[in-house]
């Protein structure tokens, strides 16, 4: 039996080597001093990290990505918090259908969503590309916001809300003074999870590019097509650091069980 466990342990180690190895390799190659990606690197240099800041498109698209992910997040919160609250708090006819609608953006293939939005949001509704990008990312984030907040509301005893009402608080006052403070960590986790989904998105953004408008992942894709220097590796390292920090905060706020539940 011990032996079988040892075999399993070895197998699992190999699985994790497969999962994390490439990410470690990419990190090493980012310090390559030469202009061709190599592993192991032939020296150590910050050169390609500096290069990120010299390529103007990286800076512009980074700003666009940040703006879209943060502002879209805000929009998704404004739309999503009331919806998550209504869906958790009340029973009413058509609740199942509404739940379905709010979750559907994760069910529809991203590339299909991107194309449909290009066709209608940009062409038919005639919104500027920047606005289309923002709208697309808001739609993308909404199900994550609603799901995480609804799951944190599912632990909330709504008698607490009634207690506040009976003590003289109005509905809105109750929400801000009693409900919101108690689901705060859920909301922050929702913001971070949605942010990562949006910031890393390719499927929708790839259709929403235009003169001077593009997101960082799309710019990275374009860059890879024409260059094979370690700049992308350097950006990758920065993105992984950002991911690790956000993931750490999410873990502190609500543990990682959100990811294992389905």
């Amino acid at each position: 039996m011990q032996e079988k466990n040892r075999g399993l342990a070895l197998f699992t180690s190999l699985v994790f080597l497969f999962l994390l190895g490439p990410l470690i390799i990419i990190s090493f190659t980012s310090f390559e001093p030469g202009s061709v990606l190599k592993f192991p690197p032939e020296g150590f240099s910050w050169r390609w990290y500096e290069n990120i800041f010299n390529v103007e498109m990286f800076m512009t698209t980074f700003k666009t990505s940040m703006f879209v992910s943060l502002f879209g997040n805000l929009l998704a919160l404004l739309l999503g918090i009331p919806a998550a609250y209504a869906l958790s708090r009340f029973d009413f006819r058509g609740k199942g259908i509404l739940n379905g609608i709010f979750i559907s953006p994760v069910l529809i293939p991203g590339i299909v969503m991107g194309f449909a939005m290009l066709k209608y949001v940009i062409v038919v509704y005639n919104l500027p590309i920047y606005a289309g990008l923002l709208v697309g990312h808001t739609v993308l984030m909404l199900p994550f916001i609603i799901r995480v907040i609804a799951s944190s509301l599912s632990n909330f005893d709504f008698a607490i809300e009634e207690a506040a009402l009976s003590l003289g608080a109005g509905r809105l006052e109750t929400f801000f003074k009693v409900v919101l403070p108690n689901i705060r960590s859920g909301i922050i986790a929702a913001i971070l999870i949605a942010f990562l989904e949006s910031f890393n998105n390719v499927d929708i953004s790839v259709f929403m590019t235009g003169p001077g408008v593009s997101t960082l992942p799309i710019q990275m894709l374009t860059y890879v097509e024409n260059n094979f220097d370690p700049t992308i590796a350097a950006i990758s390292v920065l993105l992984m650091i950002l991911t690790a920090i956000l993931m750490f905060i999410i873990e502190r706020l609500m543990g990682l069980s959100y990811f294992t539940k389905r």
């Binding site: 607490i160 009634e162 207690a163 009402l165 009976s166 003590l167 003289g168």
Partner: protein, 353 residues
């Protein structure tokens, strides 16, 4: 005039009535319990009074004013929840101060009043604690203090003790009664535990299927239940359904088949339509003697089951009118199969609907 009146009130979910043409009057300063099995409508009544539910029809009058459409946060009623419903993110002090601050009372007075009320519920010194650091009983006291501090016009309790263990439950109900009487505050108390209700209430309303079957002081209900449902609910186990009821020589005559019973006139037999006799197991006697005893109705039967209860024996006696349960203290028990006489004291007979 009553402080609170529910006048022909109806409440329905999905077109299913929980309460229909419901009426209730409550006098100032009283503690009235709503008692009944789950689903009887007691919690609905309480939530209606609190304002969490809205009546479909009917009126809710309070101090002579129409409260039917007054929203919950404008009613100034204190509500104590089964789950305590303390604000997890606030300290004991801030929990209790919550209602006062909403009333824009200045912070010095908030402080005095919170301290005062925490003394009343014996929680002085706990101001800085958070709900999760308190025991169940302490949380309940905070919940009560929070409801009391706003000087509510009415205090409402929804099964406040059901999450506590048995000993604490007895202490807390004494405490609740003490505080209620000390402050003279009108209180509506909901529970499914009859001992709890009977021990703390001025009046008990026993509810069944959305209707109050009896509203009386606890002693009266205990001795003279008005309906079979209530009689069963408070421990009457023996029933005889008589066919005919007559009055003779200041007593009540009852007949079913060849069996004739008499019952004394008392509040328990005052119900003119009551033809069903209800008896507690403690009030019946089993005997092997044949001599007639004064003031007793008699019925022949056979001991079917005999169980030792500690202080007494419990018999199930089979008769022509069905099985009867009797609790009787005695040295040596009757054996199963023995032919006995069952005695029904005529002053213990209660007639119910």
């Amino acid at each position: 005039m009553a402080l609170l009146t529910l006048d022909n009130v109806s409440v329905a979910y999905d077109n299913q009535y929980i309460l229909q043409n419901f009426n209730l009057n409550i006098e100032k300063g009283q503690l009235i319990s709503l008692l009944g099995p789950s689903g009887c409508g007691k919690t609905t009544t309480l939530r209606l009074i609190a304002g969490f539910l809205e009546a479909k029809d009917g009126r809710f009058m309070f101090e002579g004013k129409d409260y039917t459409r007054v929203p919950v946060n404008k009613r100034n009623f204190g509500f104590v929840f089964q789950s305590y419903a303390l604000f997890p993110h606030l300290s004991v002090f801030d929990n209790v101060a919550f209602g006062l601050r909403l009333r824009k009372i200045n912070e010095t007075e908030v402080k005095t009043r919170v301290q005062q009320i925490l003394e009343v519920v014996s929680l002085g010194g706990y101001e800085k604690r958070f709900p999760k650091e308190l025991s169940g009983g302490q949380r309940q006291r905070v919940a009560i203090a929070r409801a009391l501090v706003i000087q509510p016009d009415l205090l409402l309790f929804d099964e406040p003790l059901s999450n506590l263990d048995a000993n604490l439950r007895i202490n807390m109900r004494v405490e609740i009664r003490r505080i209620q009487q000390e402050l003279g505050i009108t209180t509506v108390y909901v529970s499914h535990d009859q001992e709890e209700c009977f021990s703390i209430s001025d009046q008990v309303a026993i509810m069944n299927k959305g209707v109050i079957e009896q509203l009386d002081d606890p002693a009266t209900i205990f001795k003279y239940p008005k309906t079979e449902f209530i009689a069963r609910f408070i421990g009457f186990t023996n029933f005889i359904d008589f066919a005919e009821r007559t009055e003779q020589n200041g007593e009540i005559g009852l007949r079913v088949g060849d069996h004739h019973f008499t019952a004394s006139k008392n509040p328990g037999t005052a119900n003119p339509s009551g033809k069903k006799c209800a008896m507690r197991p403690d009030d019946l006697l089993v005997t092997t003697e044949e001599s007639a005893e004064l003031g007793m109705n008699r019925l022949r039967g056979t001991v079917k089951v005999s169980t030792f209860l500690g202080r007494s024996y419990q018999y199930v006696v089979e008769t022509e009118l069905g099985d009867f349960t009797v609790n009787q203290e005695m040295e040596t028990p009757y054996k199963t199969g023995l032919n006995v006489n069952l005695l029904f004291p005529k002053d213990k007979v209660v007639l119910v609907d």
